[in-house]
Structure formats: C-alpha cells, structure tokens
C-alpha cells in the first residue's frame, strides 16, 4: 500500500526486478496466490491483468465521476432555471421562462465538465499524488521503472512479510535482482 507518515528508519520493502512484463505477471500471480497483499508493482506502462494478479480492486473512481456528473448536470440546469425564471425572467418570443429544450446544451456541457474535473482530480487524489518522495525511489536501478524494467515490491507491513523467507521466495520467481529497500 502507499507509504504514509514520516519516514521511519528500517526496511520499507523487498523489491524484485524483472526484465519483462510477462515475467512480472507470472511472478505477481504466484505472489498473490501465496497470500501477500501489501504489494505493489512498478511498471513503465499499464500491464493488463496485473491488478487481478495482485488481487487489487478499486471501483471508487467511476462512482465519484458519476456523482460529479450528476452534480454538474444539476448545477447547469439550476443555473439556467434560476436565472431565467426567478432572478431575471425575460420573455423572448413568447417562449416559456423555463425553456427546457434550450437549456439542454448548457446542462449537457456542465455535466461533462464536472465529470471530467472529477475524473482529473480523483486520479491524483485517490493515488495520493503529488508525492515528491517515496521510499521505492531508493531501489537500486529504479530509474528504469519508467523505461524498460518491471519492479515488484512486497512491503514490510504485509503480515506474511519475513526478511529471509520472502527474499528466498522472490528469488525463486525469476527476478534479476532482489533488493531490500530502506525507508
């Protein structure tokens, strides 16, 4: 899981490095099956199937966006309805003050705008970004996590974490390197 609180001394995680997405996927499946849950993978591009392998599931985002859209549509319509019928009623060509068809475009645009803003903000907020420092950056060779290497971390907070056992387990998964990363 994500790092929280001030950096305390000690191990953050054991990090295994892989050279291909396939190898990482295979390893992640085994790690998940072994029962590790406080894990994370670091990859240069989204590898499909990895979330399932890690037993990670999060569906909050679409609901947030849906609510954002509802609020947007409501705001857009209310704005028009309030200004056109209550605050400044103006008869244009004898049309009703609450001109429903004419109010559709702005309601629609407001729905889109609010949902998109929600999506944008939620991406960063739910991911805990911006975060300038994270212990994973202490991993040797981690610069390549955004280029062509695939990392898998089992964090110390995992109940099954054992410095010796976990390391042995990771080494048996075809990792090119396993390193202990400090906070």
């Amino acid at each position: 899981m994500s790092y929280s609180g001030p950096a305390e001394k000690g191990t953050f995680a054991l990090v295994a490095e892989f050279t291909s997405a396939e190898a990482l996927l295979e390893a992640a499946e085994k790690i998940g099956a072994e029962g590790y849950r406080e894990t994370d993978a670091y990859t240069p591009f989204p590898v499909h199937g990895l979330s399932d392998a890690m037993r990670f599931h999060d569906v909050r985002m679409p609901w947030f966006i849906f609510c954002g859209g509802l609020i947007g549509g409501f705001t857009g319509y209310t704005l028009q309805w309030y200004t056109a019928t209550i605050d400044y009623p103006l008869s244009v060509g004898g049309k009703p003050f609450n001109s429903l068809p004419s109010f559709f475009p702005v309601t629609f645009e407001a729905t889109i705008l609010f949902s998109a803003l929600t999506a944008f903000i939620c991406t960063f907020a739910l991911n805990g970004l911006p975060k300038p420092y994270h212990p994973i950056f202490n991993t040797p060779g981690f610069q390549r996590a955004t280029v062509d290497r695939f990392f898998f971390a089992i964090e110390k907070s995992d109940p099954k974490f054992d410095p010796e056992e976990t390391r042995k387990f990771l080494e048996g998964l075809g990792a090119v390197a396993v390193s202990e990363v400090e906070n």
Binding site: F18, T19, P44, V92, S102, P105, E109, T146
Partner: protein
C-alpha cells in the same frame, strides 16, 4: 498487384522499450536534435505571432471597424476563422478519445501531438469571437454567468451562449486529458534527464509519478472514462457551433443537416492538419519507425471517408433548399453559389473538398508523401472556403434585396487570420521541442501488445526482440 507492398505495421524496425524511449525522449533531452528546420519554422511562427499581436492591438485601439464586416455581413472572417480552427481541433479528440474507445491501437503514436494541436487550435479559435465583441473585457457579463452589479444574467436560450459553454468545456476537458496523458511521460523524462534543473522541473510536473500498478489501475479508469466523456463532447461542440447558424432564419444557414455535416467537416479538416504536421515531423526527427506509412495510409483513408460525408452534406444542403420550397433558400444555396459574385469561392470549395481528396482512393497515391501533403493543403483551404461560403456569403443577400451588400475583407482580416496560423505554428514547434511529441508509455504498451500477439504480422525482427524484451533472461 503491381503496387509496392504496404508496410502493414504500427511500429517498424528492431525495437525494444528503451529504443522507443530513446527516439522520443531524445527530442527533449538532446536539444541539439533541433536544427535548422526547427528554427525556420519557429521563426515563421514568431513572425506570425507578431502579426497577430499587431492586429489585436490595432483592433483594440481602433475597434472592429478595421475589419471588412458590415451590415448585413456582421459575421465574417472572425466567425469563419473561429469555426475553421475549432474544426481543426476536432481531429485530436477523435484520435485520442474515439479511437481509444474503438480500440484502435494505432492511435497511440499520433494521439499526443494531435491533442496538442487540439488545444492550440482551440486557443486560436477562442480569440476570434472574443475579439469580435470589440472590447472583450466589457463583454464578460453577457458571456459568463456571474453575479454582476447590474443584476443581469446571460441569455441561455441563445446558441451563442451554448457556444461559450461548449468551447470552454471542450478546452478544459482537452487540457485535462492531455495533461493526464503527459504525467507518466514526464516521469520517464525525469528519470532519463541528466540536467538537474530539468529533473526537478519534470519531477514537479509529473507529480512524483512512480508507475505503481495501483496508480495505473485508477489512471486507466479515469483515462477511459475521460475518453468516454470527450466523445459526446466533441460531437456536441461542433453541433453547437453549427446551431449558431442552423437555428437562425438566414437563407443558406437554416438547414437541419448542419450539425452532423459540420462535425464530419471538422474531422476532415483536422485530419488534414494532423497529416500536414505529421509528415514533416516524422521526417525531420526520424520518427518513421513510430509514425509509419500505415498511419499515413489510415489517416488518408479517414480524410477520404469524412470528405465523402462532407460531399453528401453539400448535396443535402441543395436538396433541402429545393425541398423547402423557399425561393430565398434556393437562390442562396444554389443560384448565388453557382453564378453569384462569390461563385469562385464555391467552385474552389468543390475542387478542394470533393475533387482533391478522391486521390486517396488509389493505395499507391496514399503512400506518396508529397501528394498526401498537397491534398491536405487543398482540404485545409477547402474547409476554410466552406465556412466562407456559408457564413459571410449567406449574409450578403437576405430576404430584402435592398439590404444586399457585398463583403470585402481588409488587410487586418487577413492579418489576424495569418497571425493565428503563425501563433499555432509557434506553439506546435515549442511543443515539439519541450514535450514528448509521441505518447511514450502508450507506444510501449502497443509494442508489448504487438509482441504478445505473435501471430500478428509485424515487421519487427523476432530474434532481436526476443533478446531485448521477450526472453526475460
């Protein structure tokens, strides 16, 4: 067939993840890659921007009287250019959002710079209606709903208000979509850059992105939903732009086919502009392996397809003019276009938009880059002429013949239009120099998928790829 076989792949050459990184990020990290062509184009852009600045300054000082607009032609170059620029932006959203939803992975190597094009085109477009108000800072109270001291509100029954909301939403959503796509690429650049200042700057703009799978998971959810939101948005934007005309009673404007036909025209012009930039850039920066002939071919096909929809729109326009039984509609839509004082514009429009793109039917011609470039210029000019024919020309003759009056643009009309083209070129070339011009992580994803499907016909040498990525050894 006697034709040279088309290179049927989305990535060519012996590639691995690092080599993809290298060919894209070196454009930013190694600034020496930007040589004479960049400086020439940038200078042209700067000069255009100077012209734009001059035109705007003179306009604000003197007023809209410096333009050729008159009564009845109150809408002229300003609105023509607005619609033209907005349309050009639409290809970017089509590529980034609609092709993503349709699972067309070839979009991955062209979406970034077409999205940039969208944003810059909308910036150019937005200037025109604002400046058409003469004093934009005074116009704000009837453009934006805020509690002003006069107690007034905008008129939401007006298509012009819808336009304000559509275009500003479009700009905001495009910007967010673009930035979201840039975040992982900024992280890649941060990790590759040697320059300390650049590293710090990139670390800030990438928000400390670390490529965590938990982040990717939510990122992809958001990205896909944003694509889903942008798709109806982009269709709505040009539809709403066309409402400005379609909902009026002006002969030549009052046509219900406008919304879909404007959207098709927008994509048509937009793809022509994407090709206009893609062809030289891939050549100058040696990106032929990432923007392949296959991409050019597909884009040319889309240009042709949307061009045919536009042609269909033209014929429907004529049909409705006849079917309405309104003599003024018929006079404006057919007789004046064919024989009136602006018939040159209509003829040129038909040649540019309908005749020229037919060249794309021939597969071999779609591979001749110079020919594709030439056709795209025809399309750009043609789409501009289309808006010219529809907007000012329809206004020159109304129901009352005594009110008919010709429209002649002035130097400042052209000055501001050419100025925005220069501004656009300047922004594009700054973008090429300082931002990843191709979406790095999506191309890697594409490479991964291409390699994953071993049965796919790809021109990547299997042995080298195996050694570089596939083996895991």
């Amino acid at each position: 067939m006697a034709l040279t076989p088309l290179n049927d792949s989305m990535i060519t050459g012996a590639q691995d993840y690092a080599s993809i990184d290298n060919s894209i990020s070196s454009m930013i990290i190694d600034q020496k890659r930007h040589t004479r062509p960049w400086f020439i184009m940038f200078t042209i852009g700067i000069m255009g921007t100077g012209l734009l600045g001059t035109a705007i300054t003179w306009l604000l000082y003197q007023g809209v009287g410096i333009w050729g607009n008159n009564i009845p032609t109150a809408w002229a170059f300003d609105i023509v250019n607005f619609v033209w620029w907005i349309g050009i932006g639409h290809a970017g959203t089509l590529i980034s959002a609609i092709l993503l939803l349709l699972r067309q992975p070839w979009r991955n190597s062209i979406n970034r710079f077409s999205e940039a094009m969208t944003i810059f085109a909308v910036m150019c477009a937005g200037m025109f209606p604002l400046l058409h108000t003469g004093r934009p800072w005074v116009a704000i109270y009837w453009l934006f709903p805020y509690t002003n001291i006069m107690g007034l509100w905008p008129q939401f029954r007006s298509p012009l208000m819808w336009d304000v909301f559509a275009v500003s939403t479009y700009f905001s959503v495009s910007l967010m979509f673009w930035y979201l796509g840039l975040v992982p690429d900024f992280a890649t650049l941060r990790d590759q850059s040697k320059n300390r200042f650049a590293r710090v700057l990139l670390a800030i703009v990438c928000m400390g992105w670390r490529g965590s799978q938990r982040h990717w998971h939510r990122y992809e959810q958001a990205y896909l939903i944003l694509a889903g939101l942008s798709t109806p948005l982009v269709l709505s934007v040009h539809s709403i732009v066309s409402f400005d005309f379609a909902s009026s009673v002006v002969p030549g404007w009052n046509v219900t086919v406008f919304p879909p036909y404007f959207v098709a025209g927008a994509v048509f012009a937009g793809f022509a502009m994407v090709l206009t930039f893609a062809i030289p850039i891939r050549k100058i920066y040696k990106l032929e392996d990432l923007i392949t002939m296959r991409h050019i071919d597909w884009m040319a096909k889309i240009t042709l397809a949307t061009g045919l929809i536009v042609a269909y729109g033209y014929s429907l326009e004529l049909f409705y003019a006849w079917y309405s039984g309104n003599p003024n509609e018929w006079d404006m839509t057919l007789l004046r276009r064919l024989t009136g004082p602006y018939s040159w514009a209509y003829t040129a429009l038909i040649i540019c938009n309908i005749v020229a793109p037919q060249a794309f039917w021939v597969p071999a011609w779609r591979q001749k880059l110079w020919l594709v470039m030439v056709v795209c210029q025809f399309v750009s000019v043609g789409m501009w002429l289309e808006r010219f024919v529809i907007i000012p020309m329809s206004l020159t003759a109304n129901y009352l013949p005594s009110a008919n009056r010709m429209y002649y643009p002035t130097f400042w009309d052209f000055g501001m239009f050419l100025g925005t083209i220069g501004f656009f070129i300047m922004l594009m070339f700054l973008f090429i120099r300082f931002m990843p011009v191709i979406n790095i992580f999506e191309v890697k994803d594409l490479l991964y998928k291409l390699l994953g499907h071993r049965d796919a016909q790809i021109a990547i040498k299997p042995v080298e790829v195996g050694a570089a990525v596939g083996g895991g050894e």
